[in-house]
């Protein structure tokens, strides 16, 4: 496992790797070039928007749905809702991407529905219009990723001592106060853990973006992972691809160290 990583790091300091046999050592030239590449900065910016948007979305939707399916309703509908709500997580990225492409097609069902309800005037090319592509991609990413967080939060919610809620009720706390003063602080360790994990996963997420927008239209949804892929397998610039990959790896490594530190801290308490 170490060898390929080292090789990619090595490639990032060479020119014309893989495709030609006479690759030359260029030092930090690839990095310098990237630093002056506006598309690189766009992809960094997009990656941050995409990652932060997805993770925040996952957290909000996950916690909201976990609260819903944790509420005291009849066990049969509860079991049905639980199963239905976990489904998005079970599909592969290809299925998710295809599904959403069909749904979001300019002549797809979502456009017809929104038009019928009078929310939009004319059909929108959700994945093909630069002004809405990133927002649309975020919706798909949130839909696809919330179940993991929802399940984590649900197990967290179920482990909270019920008498604590009762004590708060007697103390005079209302729903919102209980949520912010009891539930959220009790879930804090889980929120930290899964949010960091989700950041790591989403930061390097490739298939969903590539299969829905392909980084486009233009560079509207170009993220570091699609940028790497484009360098490597569209432009065959493996040195540049390696350089972006190393940068991506650095970011992910920092997040991973944070996550592991958090875990270590917890086990020491």
């Amino acid at each position: 496992m170490i060898f390929p990583i080292l090789q990619v790091i090595e490639y990032s300091f060479y020119d014309n790797v893989i495709v030609t046999s006479d690759s030359t050592f260029v030092g930090f030239d690839n990095y310098k070039e990237l630093a002056f590449d506006p598309i690189f900065w766009t992809s960094i910016f997009n990656t941050i928007i995409f990652t932060v948007g997805s993770v925040v979305g996952h957290l909000v939707v996950g916690i909201f749905l976990a609260l819903l399916i944790n509420s005291p309703i009849h066990p049969v509908p509860r079991a049905i809702f639980r199963t239905l709500l976990v489904l998005p997580w079970l599909f592969t990225a290809v299925v998710v991407a295809l599904n959403w492409q069909l749904l979001l097609h300019p002549f797809g069902i979502i456009n017809y529905a929104l038009k019928d309800f009078g929310i939009i005037d004319s059909h929108v090319d959700w994945l093909g219009d630069e002004s809405v592509a990133m927002a649309t991609l975020l919706v798909i990413s949130i839909w696809r990723g919330y179940p993991f967080l929802m399940i984590s939060f649900l197990s967290g919610l179920q482990s909270i001592d019920k008498s604590m809620y009762e004590a708060a009720k007697i103390d005079g706390a209302g729903w919102f106060r209980i949520f912010f003063s009891i539930t959220i602080p009790q879930l804090k360790p889980i929120i930290y853990g899964v949010a960091l994990l989700d950041l790591i996963w989403t930061f390097q997420l490739f298939p969903l973006v590539w299969l829905t927008t392909g980084g486009g239209p233009g560079r509207a949804t170009e993220v570091l992972s699609t940028y790497t892929y484009r360098f490597a397998f569209v432009d065959f610039e493996f040195s540049k691809a390696s350089t972006v990959a190393v940068i991506l790896l650095t970011f992910t490594a920092v997040l991973t160290i944070l996550y592991l530190r958090k875990g270590k801290g917890k086990s020491e308490i």
């Binding site: 604590m164 009762e166 004590a167 007697i170 706390a173 003063s181 602080p185």
Partner: protein, 365 residues
């Protein structure tokens, strides 16, 4: 301060009836202890008073107010939970101040109340700590402090000592009793431990199967149990109970246990049943003592028995024996020289004997 009145209080979950109509009046300032085996409905009753369970039918009054549909926070109650239910992410101070802050009390007043409660409970040095840094007894005190600061009309305790070890339990028991004497507030306390009930209560409410079996002072329920259940539930070891037959030879009336031992009843606890009637004869272990330790000089109350087993409790010795197939326990002094297998003469103090109807299991008056 307020008293509590429960009127025909019922609780059902679906088709399962948990409480079958509870009628009870707890006076202002009274320390009432609900005691009974698991599933008898004591905690459910307490939770209904707290407003944590809905009322299926019947009425709950706290003071003069009907509180059936009143929110828990507006009932003027404070509750101490079995698990303490402290907020783990808040300091001891914040745990105690939480309800006061929610009431939008001025910060100065909040601080005054918390400090005063902390002083009372010896928690002043721990106010900045989190509950996880406290021992079981200290957590218990914080839970009590959280209740005290609210200055409630009624304190509700749900098995508050059951998570503590024996020594700490005895200590906390005394502290709760002291607290009641100082605050003079109405307390409803639930426990399955009859020793706790006896030591704490002004009034014990013994529950069984969703009904009140007996309610009265600790002395009353101990010495005058209304039923065989109460007789066997209160006291450790419980009252000896033996099926027996009433005999009456004109001059003397008494019970014949198992056709082997006949004991004449006392005028202090007269036997109202007729000759030949079946009754359950009940006598507390402390009322059966070895003849050589007794100052009762009544040959009609003695029996010769063979000791099966000895249990030394320190200051006393319990000795087990049989009369026919009925098992009995008596109490001797801790230094009594009795051994298993020994045949001794015991005196049964019939002034304190009780008789129960074997059908209804209720006391025969």
């Amino acid at each position: 301060m307020s008293g509590i009145a429960l009127s025909n209080l019922k609780k059902s979950y679906g088709d399962t009836d948990i409480l079958h109509g509870i009628d009870l009046e707890i006076k202002n300032g009274e320390f009432a202890v609900f005691v009974g085996p698991s599933g008898c409905g004591k905690s459910t009753t307490l939770r209904m008073i707290a407003g944590l369970e809905t009322v299926t039918s019947g009425e709950i009054f706290i003071g003069d107010q009907l509180v059936n549909d009143v929110q828990p926070k507006n009932r003027g109650i404070a509750m101490v939970f079995q698990s303490y239910a402290l907020y783990p992410h808040m300091s001891v101070y914040d745990n105690m101040a939480f309800s006061l802050k929610l009431r939008k009390m001025p910060p100065g007043e909040v601080q005054k109340r918390v400090r005063s409660a902390a002083d009372t409970l010896e928690l002043t040095k721990m106010l900045d700590r989190k509950p996880s840094a406290l021992s079981g007894g200290q957590r218990q005190r914080v839970a009590m402090g959280r209740a005290i600061v609210r200055d409630p009309e009624v304190f509700l305790f749900d098995e508050p000592l059951s998570n503590l070890d024996a020594t700490l339990r005895t200590q906390m028991r005394a502290e709760i009793k002291e607290l009641h004497q100082r605050l003079k507030s109405t307390i409803v306390y639930v426990t399955h431990d009859q020793v706790e009930a006896m030591t704490l209560a002004d009034r014990i409410v013994i529950m069984r199967g969703g009904k009140i079996e007996q309610s009265g002072t600790p002395e009353d329920v101990f010495h005058n149990p209304a039923s065989m259940f109460v007789a066997s539930f209160m006291g450790s070891p419980p009252m000896n109970l033996a099926e027996s037959t009433v005999y009456d030879n004109g001059a003397e009336k008494g019970v014949n246990i198992n056709g082997t031992v006949s004991i004449i009843s006392s005028e202090d606890s007269p036997l109202s049943s007729k000759a030949g009637d079946r009754v359950v004869f009940g006598i507390r272990p402390e009322d059966i003592v070895p003849d050589f330790e007794s100052d009762i000089n009544n040959k009609n109350w003695t029996a010769s028995v063979k000791v099966d087993l000895i249990e030394l409790l320190g200051s006393t010795k319990l000795f087990h024996f049989h009369i026919g197939t009925n098992k009995f326990i008596g109490k001797a002094g801790g230094r009594s020289n009795i051994e298993p297998g020994q045949v001794i003469s015991v005196v049964m103090d019939m002034r304190h004997a009780r008789y129960f109807d074997p059908e209804t299991e209720l006391i025969i008056r």
